[in-house]
Amino acid sequence: MTTKQFMFVNRKAPYGTIYAWEALEVVLIAAAFEQDVSLAFLDDGVYQLKKGHQTKGIEVKAFEKTWGALEDYDVTKLYVDQESLAERGLTADDLAVPVEVLSRAEIGKLMEAQDVVLSF
């Protein structure tokens, strides 16, 4: 099978809308198709990775644990926008899994190198 570089761009908060959850479903399928998968987290999307999701009160399934499982699917390229973190008073230490924190410009360059960019 042809392998292409797929980047999934996550821009939205983890809950409140279904985008983050359904984006994760596509990520897992892309990994199952053995594509070269990476994830970028920008804007409120950085909250998706924040430690300590507690969703019982809103009766929505929490998906924080899925980040830790991505490695089993050989998905290890997680890029987080430095500016988005800083704007929200967050650092890499607040996140549930190890990530690569990059500047907005560096993420832009990575996007340019992709075959397919899916933005959610």
Binding site: M1, T2, K4, F6, I18, Y19, E22, E25, V26, I29, A30, A32, F33, Q35, D115, V116, V117, L118, S119, F120
Partner: protein
């Protein structure tokens, strides 16, 4: 060029489906190929034949169906997203014990693998969403 199109928003609330449709028409008019149109998130709501807009408004669902018929388009609705939102074909009706179907002509329900395949096969995958 070979295009694939991803529609992530439902009809009427968001412009995305309209823009995707206009883009698809323009692509075909220029003589390009559309490998597949994939509907995800609330985009699956573009595929219900029960849509009834006012008579002086565009019928977004019928417009997609017509375009698919004219150009033999492959229009795929994500099964997981469709199940959540009640978009049902004969197979889904039987499988999930429902009493009705509502999938519009020209659409078919299938898995997310069809989206990834579209990304692999097409020269460009263009995403329409918010």
């Amino acid at each position: 060029m070979k295009f694939a199109i991803l529609v992530n928003e439902g009809p009427y609330t968001h412009q995305a489906s309209d823009t995707a449709f206009q883009f698809a028409k323009a692509v075909l008019a220029k003589g390009h190929e559309i490998f597949r149109v994939f509907f995800y998130h609330d985009g699956v709501n573009n595929a219900t034949r029960l849509t009834t807009p006012p008579q002086d408004d565009r019928n977004i669902v019928n417009r997609w169906s017509k375009l698919a018929e004219e150009h033999n388009l492959d229009m795929v609705v994500c099964v997981a997203a469709a199940q959540r939102r009640g978009i049902v074909d004969d197979g889904e009706m039987k499988r999930n014990g429902k009493d009705a179907t509502n999938l519009a002509p020209g659409f078919r329900i299938s898995g997310l693998g069809q989206l990834i395949e579209a990304g692999i096969q097409a020269d460009r995958l263009v995403v329409f969403g918010d």
